[in-house]
């Protein structure tokens, strides 16, 4: 993987690491502004109805308060401007519990918080749609065309005729993104120009959504977001808090800072919806799949639709002649769900890969063997050839590295003291795509010292984007990494795709690489010379004595990419210990083996994969948000109730990458790793729990009570 004298492929530490550990990295709320005022949101305490009275008089008189903004005095905003989740203070109507109903702006955060407690609201309540279980039978067809039923052959008949069948319901609960940095914004107006310091996974998307919602031109809005303290999808689309900060700043004519509290994060920035998934698998006696149905019912907001595509893995993972993938949806008085790490694939793979494990058990064959038997030669959903697919290698090399041969096939037979030990395996996948992105390279020379600046409106979620772009530019220009400055996270820079859907590395690195190639070509042309060996941009700057030179490249995916099916794939291996008396589970070992094309930086890549694994373990064992249907509120409302994994929950983690050269999806051969790291993880853990205990838990999370 590592090439001599090349930066790409080296496990380089994050170039901004020192800034982060010394507290010098400027996240959104770290931007100082003269005369800053502080905004606090207040929220509805009903799920459905209308505000009949909103008494803000005590709050307005409270010390330090500059303004109280509600639907009564908020400026008219464009509700179709591209923000997610509504709650823009445009009407007294309440569509979900915790909808923003106003903002208090004060001299200090404490004053604003105090004043918010003094606001008295009365409502005309309506019966809310808050009980998913009760609404389930009335689920509707989704509006999105991509979610129409996908039918191949006759799944029902093939299932009924199959020699061996598995048909089960798998449930995953509401989960939250909860990045360490809560969503926060500093808004600064200078005349009609607005600057928004705001963690944004899609810089240009945040810019256009904010501008459009505020009825401004995009060039009037600048987004600055050099560092993001995690997002996991919740900072992909932007939410009301971004624009409401700008509204508040305009109204008080001062810069305003607004940071959501952890409690507000539960119902302000989307969530992973609850999914009710029915899987029907039919196979021949020797384990050849005949039929696969994956039918998902989820909920969405009452006024807007988002469904995570749980059937995506089922579309492409296995060779099967008869298949049905379907979605149904229940509108609920709950905040709009949104993209959440491994959207659809993480939850969908839990259902599919648990069912495959159940099938293997029924057939009495090894779960790895079952997967190998059903490996598809081309994409079964559209007949396209794979650009590359290394599932077999992931399974075989993973099994060897993990010691799969030590697994006892019969559940409940591997006991150490009071602990039952189990091994589980599950596969995962995520599409590999390159999106349009532009980059500018600026070269300068002083003496024989050449430096480069890379400019691109990319974002770095904390995953290492800065670093991989410096590596790409170093190799592309013939420079050392320390001579590269990367500028990203600013909408004034050349437009780029977002750090979403695992497109970031491919889109940004190809743009930078194209700009490097282009600048070298242009320097060559400028020199008018012929060279035996192509010189680097650095060589040319020196030999041609150029003091400054720059160029811009607008990169697009290769045109032939569409003719192939391009995805990252993985195999996950889990070892768990379950205390037979208390039901407590610990994942003692976890191995993710991934085939994701070229790995630009094995160190940051490993971090990203194990980060996904950890969330997947949380998904398997502890993360769950519960709505009390009587009020539509979250009964789980803080980190005391919503259990993300702690260090003590995580055993030994290992990430392996399969060597894979695949230049079909993009010239750099990068497939993306951000999403795939969580896909298949929960199923691997659940399958290991079954192997340990003989108990098949189909309703996540696997808390101790379910194992007694």
């Amino acid at each position: 993987m590592e090439e001599k004298n090349k930066a790409i492929g080296k496990g380089v530490s994050r170039i901004e690491g020192i800034l982060k550990i010394t507290g010098k990295a400027t996240y959104a709320t770290d931007y100082p502004a003269k005369n800053m005022a502080y905004a606090v949101l207040f929220k509805s305490t009903i799920a459905s109805g209308t505000i009949t009275s909103l008494d803000t008089s005590a709050a307005e008189k409270s010390q330090g308060v500059l303004a109280v903004i509600t639907h009564k005095n908020a400026p008219k905003l464009n509700l179709k401007g591209g923000l997610r989740g509504g709650a823009l203070l445009q009407s007294p109507e309440i569509l979900f519990h915790g909808q923003h109903i106003g903002i208090v702006v004060a001299q200090s955060f404490e004053q604003a918080t105090h004043a918010a407690h003094l606001i008295h609201v009365e409502y005309q309540k309506k019966e809310g749609k808050t009980d998913f279980d009760k609404l389930l039978p009335n689920a509707e067809m989704p509006k999105g065309k991509e979610l129409a039923d996908l039918v191949r052959g006759d799944a029902k008949a093939a299932f009924e005729n199959a020699a061996v069948r598995v048909e089960e319901i798998y449930e995953t609960p509401i989960e939250h993104h909860h990045p360490m940095e809560p969503h926060s914004t500093v808004a600064v107006w200078e005349g009609e120009q607005l600057t928004l310091y705001n963690g944004s996974q899609i810089i240009n998307g945040a810019q256009t959504a904010a501008a459009s919602t505020l009825n401004l031109k995009p060039e009037q809005v600048r987004i600055i977001s050099p560092f993001i303290g995690g997002g996991f999808g919740s900072k992909g689309g932007q939410w009301a808090n971004l624009v409401l900060t700008a509204v508040a700043a305009k109204m008080v004519n001062r810069p305003v800072k607004l940071a959501l509290t952890r409690q507000q994060m539960f119902n302000s920035v989307g969530l992973r919806q609850r999914n009710h998934q029915k899987i029907s698998l039919g196979a021949s006696k020797d384990g050849i799949l005949q039929s696969l149905s994956h039918q998902t019912t989820s909920h969405t907001a009452v006024d807007s639709e988002y469904l995570e595509p749980c059937g995506d893995c089922s579309k492409i993972m296995y060779e099967v002649p008869n298949s049905l993938i379907s979605y149904r949806v229940v509108p609920m008085n709950v905040i709009l769900p949104t993209y959440t790490r491994g959207p659809g694939k993480s939850t969908g793979s839990f259902a599919l890969e648990s069912a495959m494990d159940e099938l293997a058990y029924k057939l009495n064959i090894d779960p790895i063997e079952l997967r190998l038997k059903n490996e598809p030669k081309k994409d079964p959903s559209n007949g396209k050839p794979w650009s590359s697919r290394k599932v077999v290698e992931c399974l075989k090399e993973g099994a060897k590295a993990f010691g799969w041969d030590k697994r006892k096939a019969e559940p409940g037979t591997n006991k150490i003291g009071d602990d039952l030990v189990g091994y589980g395996v599950a596969c995962g996948t995520y599409p590999a795509r390159q999106r349009d992105s532009s980059a500018v390279i600026k070269l300068t020379k002083k003496g024989n010292n050449v430096n480069a600046t890379v400019e691109i409106a990319a974002s770095d979620l904390g995953t290492g984007t800065n670093t991989i772009l410096a590596q790409t530019a170093a190799d592309g220009l013939g420079l050392a990494m320390e001579n590269i400055t990367v500028k990203l996270g600013d909408s004034n820079l050349p437009p780029a795709a977002g750090s979403v859907g695992s497109v970031g590395a491919a889109s940004f690195a190809n743009a930078v690489n194209d700009a490097c190639t282009k600048i070298t070509d242009e320097l060559l042309a400028k020199s008018g010379k012929q060279f035996f060996v192509r010189p680097t941009a650095k060589d040319l700057m020196i030999s041609e004595n150029v003091s400054a030179f720059e160029t811009r490249a607008d990169a697009k995916a290769p045109t032939q990419a569409d003719q192939y099916s391009a995805h990252s794939f993985n195999a996950n291996f889990a070892e768990v210990r379950v205390n037979a008396l208390t039901g407590m589970v610990k994942v003692t070992r976890f191995l993710a083996v991934t085939g994701a094309g070229r790995i630009l930086n094995p160190k940051t890549a490993r971090s990203q994969i194990i980060g996904g694994n950890i969330w997947g373990i949380g998904m398997a064992l502890s993360e769950e948000s519960i709505i009390d249907p009587r009020w539509g509120n979250f009964a789980t409302r803080s980190f005391a109730d919503y259990h993300v994994p702690t260090n003590f929950d995580i055993g030994k983690l290992d990430a392996m990458f399969i060597n894979e050269e695949d230049k079909i999806p993009n010239k750099m051969g990068v497939k993306g790793i951000g999403e795939v790291g969580i896909v298949g993880v929960a199923a691997a853990v659940a399958n290991a729990v079954f192997n340990a205990t003989g108990k098949r838990i189909r309703h996540l999370p696997i808390t101790p009570d379910k194992l007694l």
């Binding site: 404490e110 918080t113 009964a635 409302r637 005391a640 009570d705």
Partner: protein
């Protein structure tokens, strides 16, 4: 957070007088629970009287003749858990403290404050919800709601909350006494068993402290099961989560025969739940898993679980058996 006045003093009598003068004042020690509750607008004191300068932090032997130790109320949880005397003579207490919260919180939290933790029932924390503990007479949202974490023993129609401390569960098994300074300056001693109360018709009262009383120390009598004790906490993740069920157990053995068993449970009631029935059944019996199971079964038969926490009955039984087995095995 509402505005409040901050006062500090290094005299306990001043602190008591200040508190009695202002019916809306609260004592402040580590603040790890009170400040959170103020941020949530659940607790609304208009004055905080900071106790952290009071010289009530020492861990020391009780005077000769009393046989035991005294733990200063304002000492930090971390210090108590790691103190050599406690680790040697009361390892059960050390284990229970370390099973609670996080290292950062234990560094701030005081021993007295730990006793005064309020319930973590999420309806208690959410001011938009009814809660008789927070707002007497408003109703109990948990009784027919999300009550997976809630009580199976001793609850009332008014409140089904559980008391969250781990430390206090060990203190119950250790028969601790809570020493308090009364407003008249005299001391009184309250048994840990009488310190916390069941909710009955007044769930707003967590304990039997009177207004103005200030905890000065926790006294632990000598025991004979230091090497035969165990604390097991069952929870939704392996650290930093409140107990679904926890058990503190100590057994005094004569060979393999149980002289006395000391069992307290957490996560099951509005106070640490002393398993008296199980203890009575074990007295004089052989320390076998079969006997542990019979005793645990008898204790848990008294449980009245709610709609979502029926699992706590089996979990409680298993955890008692597991803790007794560990305690018998010894260290």
């Amino acid at each position: 957070m509402r505005p409040f006045k901050y006062t500090n003093t290094n005299s306990s009598s001043d602190a008591i007088n200040l508190l009695i003068k202002n019916p809306n004042a609260s004592y402040l020690a580590g603040g790890t629970n009170l400040i959170d509750l103020m941020k949530e607008d659940v607790e609304k004191p208009n004055e905080l009287i900071d106790l952290t300068r009071l010289a009530l932090t020492k861990i020391a032997l009780l005077p000769t003749g009393q046989n035991g130790i005294s733990i200063g109320a304002l000492g930090k949880n971390t210090e108590a858990a790691n103190h050599p005397m406690i680790r040697e003579q009361y390892p059960l207490l050390s284990k229970a403290i370390l099973a609670g919260a996080s290292a950062q919180i234990r560094n701030m939290a005081t021993n007295g404050g730990n006793l005064l933790q309020r319930t973590r029932c999420s309806y208690f924390y959410d001011t938009a919800m009814p809660c008789n503990k927070r707002n007497p007479g408003s109703g109990c949202a948990a009784k027919d709601g999300f009550n997976r974490m809630h009580a199976i023993f001793g609850w009332s129609e008014e409140c089904v909350a559980v008391y969250p401390s781990d430390m206090a569960v060990a203190l119950s098994a250790l028969d601790a006494n809570i020493k308090v300074i009364q407003p008249d300056g005299k001391f009184r001693s309250i048994s840990i068993h009488d310190f916390h109360r069941l909710p009955e018709q007044q769930p707003e009262l967590d304990n039997t402290l009177k207004r103005g009383e200030l905890i000065s120390s926790i006294e632990l009598p000598k025991n004979d099961f230091a090497n035969h004790s165990a604390y097991i906490k069952v929870r939704d993740r392996n650290s930093y989560a409140f107990a679904l069920v926890s058990v503190a157990a100590g057994v005094v053995l004569n060979g393999n025969r149980i002289v006395s068993a000391h069992i307290a449970m957490g996560g099951v009631a509005h106070k640490p739940w002393r398993a008296r029935k199980a203890e009575a059944l074990l007295k004089g019996k052989m320390a076998t898993v079969a006997n542990f199971e019979l005793a645990a079964q008898a204790e848990m038969e008294q449980a009245k679980p709610l709609a979502q926490n029926k699992f706590k009955v089996a979990m409680g039984k298993n955890t008692i058996v597991s803790a007794l087995s560990m305690a018998t095995k010894g260290t």
